[in-house]
Each structure stands twice: as structure tokens, then as C-alpha cells.
Symmetry: C2
Subunit: 289 residues, 2 copies
């Protein structure tokens, strides 16, 4: 492919930013990828691994000639990064992010980017693993995965188009929805499950028989709790950023558990089998899609 743009700048070269850099380079989407981040050793490692072409520690220098800037940092760092890059962005530079909650990022971007806000297109790749860091990055992370864009009404159409093309170049399927809808859906499919897995492992870890408990855990438990190996800081940020939707989902779930608890207390086998059978049907259907 002929390069769409000259320079892409990726701020935060961890699993998400690093994998995107690799994919964009492989696809020839841009002529060069500049990386930026807080930790010089990570950026050096990223250059060594061929993830980025060049790095800058100063964000305003990094974005100076960038046609597109991808901010792939923890949600709690977004605002600060936007503030640092705002004065240095060219008038045409497009800015996007890869955060797991979208309303909070849009609010941060609106405040910090000011006149450049119309060039901002919030995005969220529905991918990632329980691993993190540039050494975990791989070129196919986004292949056939969904990316949700949640552009605001103010967003320039050409900016939305460029961000769409960028993710498509990385192999992803791009869809659009409102930020509010995104945050509610992801609270259910991603944020709540992570909380439940962290909660279960911590709960079992508090038992006296903790060694036994983990020693006799089988494959089901391994799969179920894999996401509890995710980065605690990232997940604290997601919880705080999408707090209201997650609280709402948690409350629905707590009610569901109370229903199951009651059925079990009443030895109500029919109620249990109804819940389990509905769940199995929904999960089997999901599996076949």
C-alpha cells in the first residue's frame, strides 16, 4: 500500500501501542513511526525490537510533525498527555486514543485539546491479553478484531476516516457507536468480568486452605481467572473512568447472585436449572458466531 501518511506518533509503546506500531509498519500505512513515553528504557527496547523507528521523550517534540497521534497510555494519564501535546499539534494532525472507557477520555480531550478537539476521534480496540509491555507486543494483535470508534458530533469527517483507515490497515474491523453506549456495553462484557475474576482470586487467596485451593484447580478455573493476571493499575483506571456504568452492571450482577443464592438456600433445583440452561444457550450461541 502507498503510505497514507508520513508520520504516525504513538505515545505509550506497551502491548496496545507497540502492536499497533508493528502492524502499521508492516502495512506501510505510514513512512515512519515515532514513539514516545515516560520510560526511556522501554522506548530503547521498542526501537531495538523494531516496533518504532525513532523515539522522543518530550511529547511536544514527538507530535510536532505527526499526521496522526495515537495516545495509548493508561486512562489516568490521558489528560496530562493531551495537555502536553496540545500546543505542539499541527492544525491538521489527527489525534486518537486506545482507552477502554470512552466518555472520560472524550471529556479529557475536550478540555485539553481545545481548538484541536475537532481532530480528535476516540477509539477502543477490543483486544489485548492479560499481558502488558512492549515485549508482549505482536503484529497480529488487531487482525480480525473489532475496534470501536466513538467520534463526537464535532469531529471532522476526514479525521474519522483517517482513524478508520489506520485500524483497518492494522487488520481490524472498525465500528462506530456513541461513547455512552460503548461504555455501557464494555462495562458488561469486559469491565465487570475483570472485576469478578480479580475478586474471585483475591477471595480464594484469603482462605486458610489457599494452597490446597489453587493446587486442585482445573482447566476451567485457569480459563476463568486468566484475566485476573491483568495489570492492576490499568484496571483501577478503567474502574474509576467508567465508574457509573460499572456500578450499575455490578448491581445487576449482585442481584443475580442473590437470586442464585436464594434458590440454593431453598434447594430450588428448578430455579437453578432455568438460570444455568438460559446461560448455556446464550453462551453456546455466542460460541458459534
Amino acid at each position: 500500500m502507498t503510505a497514507k501518511v508520513q508520520t504516525a506518533c504513538i505515545i505509550g509503546t506497551g502491548l496496545i501501542g507497540g502492536s499497533l506500531a508493528l502492524a502499521l509498519k508492516q502495512a506501510g500505512f505510514c513512512q515512519r513511526v515515532i514513539g514516545a513515553g515516560r520510560t526511556e528504557a522501554t522506548l530503547q527496547k521498542a526501537v531495538e525490537l523494531g516496533v518504532i523507528d525513532h523515539y522522543e521523550m518530550d511529547y511536544s517534540v514527538a507530535v510536532k510533525n505527526a499526521d496522526i497521534v495515537v495516545v495509548a497510555v493508561p486512562l489516568s494519564a490521558m489528560k496530562n498527555v493531551f495537555e502536553q501535546i496540545a500546543p505542539a499539534l499541527s492544525a491538521t494532525a489527527v489525534v486518537t486514543d486506545a482507552g477502554s472507557a470512552k466518555q472520560s477520555v472524550i471529556k479529557d480531550a475536550e478540555l485539553a485539546l481545545a481548538k484541536n478537539f475537532k481532530r480528535f476521534v476516540a477509539g477502543h480496540p477490543i483486544s489485548g491479553t492479560e499481558k502488558s509491555g512492549v515485549t508482549a507486543a505482536f503484529v497480529d494483535l488487531y487482525k480480525n478484531r473489532k475496534v470501536i470508534l466513538t467520534p463526537t458530533e464535532q469531529a471532522d469527517a476526514d479525521a474519522v476516516k483517517l482513524v478508520t483507515e489506520m485500524w483497518q490497515a492494522a487488520g481490524a474491523e472498525v465500528e462506530s457507536m456513541s461513547a455512552g453506549h460503548h461504555d455501557m456495553v464494555l462495562a458488561g462484557t469486559s469491565h465487570l468480568p475483570h472485576i469478578l475474576a480479580f475478586g474471585l482470586v483475591d477471595c480464594l487467596n484469603n482462605l486458610e486452605e489457599v494452597d490446597e485451593v489453587f493446587r486442585f484447580a482445573a482447566g476451567g478455573f485457569r480459563d476463568f481467572t486468566r484475566i485476573a493476571s491483568s495489570d492492576p493499575v490499568m484496571w483501577r483506571d478503567i474502574c474509576l473512568s467508567n465508574r457509573e456504568d460499572i456500578l450499575c452492571m455490578m448491581e445487576k450482577y449482585q442481584q443475580q447472585l442473590q437470586t442464585i443464592h436464594q434458590a440454593l438456600q431453598d434447594s430450588d433445583g428448578e430455579a437453578l436449572i432455568n438460570i444455568f440452561a438460559r446461560a448455556k444457550q446464550a453462551r453456546d450461541q455466542f460460541n458459534n458466531e
Copy 2:
């Protein structure tokens, strides 16, 4: 290996019983495997697939000349099967089971097997998948997996030895503990996670946005909810059979969720990160074992 016994009888030739039959035949543990069960078509299929050598519909005929009888039926069917086989067992026949809860099975066996109860050794292979049925059976299901035996004090030593050797022949590592301890540990590592997964899928399935929710689910969700595809009848039985331990574990977990809910409501990032970090550390350690 020289066959340890002449005839093994497996009642219930689904994933668990069928895979054991295949493994015992491959290891040459017995000279023949007789299958028994409720559904003739399943037994015919088991013979066709080479899982068993021969089948009987009448349990008392099936166990008549058996040296070892493995009852691999749902927990709610155990008592009835024990009652049917009791009058036909030889004085030396060893009986074992593969149920996921042990105290309830031992109670059923004690009542139904009467004088043969000293030849009964309760067992639980820590394996299985979310699939079920004889067509899902495979010879390596127990290879390097743990099997927990919970023999009572009355159990004959040679009976415990034979059941141990049987599972070892199938490739498993055999460990012993009390039935009470088994039921508590499994309530945490297996029974509670299944309830949580069934509960989550049913909860999301009740949302108005259900299609969206499943459409934007990623790999983490897929792993997390895989066990929600398990057999609802089997899991109703497990819940009712290990009711008290599961209720106790559920209550600890519900308290844990309430703690997380409160931390989120208070936007208490430190409390969240502490829980998530403890969980990650425990899960990473488990992963490295």
C-alpha cells in the same frame, strides 16, 4: 501391563466414564470393559466407537462379574444406581464413583450398598471440559490430571489400592483427603466459578442490548464464560449435593463484591488497586506452578 483385573464395569459412558474406559483399555488395566447406562443408543455408540467392549441395560447384570465398578452418572442418579447394583455385587467387587461432590455420594453409598460399603472408595477426577457425552470422550482426559480419592475409615485398604491403581493406569496423579475437605476446596475452585459464569451470562442475556453485548465481547470474555457452556443438569446436581459449602463460598464472594462495590462507589483507587494487585500476584503464581 498385565491386566490388574478381568472386568471393569462403567455405569454412565459419557465424557467422564467414556474417557476412563478408553484409558483403561489402552493401558491394559482390565481384560474387558462393560458399559451400562440408561440410553441404549448411547451404549451402542460407545461400542461402535470402541469405548466399551460390551453393554448391558440392566445394571445388576452389568456388575455381576465385575471386579471394579465405576459409577459415572450425575450426582442425583447415584443413589438409585447404588440401590440397583447392591444386590448383584460380588463380595470382593470394588465400587467407586466420579462425582464432583463427595459427602453426598458417600451418604448415598452407605445407605444403598450396606455390607458392600467397605468396598466403596469415593473419587473425583479434577478434569472434564464444558462438553459432555460419549462422543466427547478421549483417551488422554486424565493424563497428568489430579484425581482426589476420599475413602472413608471403613474402606478396605485393598479397595483403595485398586481404585488408586485404576486412575494411575489412566494417567492421573492420585491424592487422598477427607470428603469434607474435598467439598470445601472444590466449592471454591470449581463450583463457585461455574455459578459465577452461568450468572454473568444470564445477567448479560437479560440486558436490552444483549446482541451488542455479545457482539463486542473479546477473548477475555470468551475464556471467562467458557464454563457457562457446561451441562445445566449436572451443575444443578452439584449445587444441591454440595449446597452448604457452596452457600458458604458464595457468601464470602458476595462480601468481596460488596467491598469492591463500596470502593468503586467511594472512588477509592487505592483499595481497588490493592485487591487487583493481590489477585494478580496469586494468579501469576498459580500460573507458574
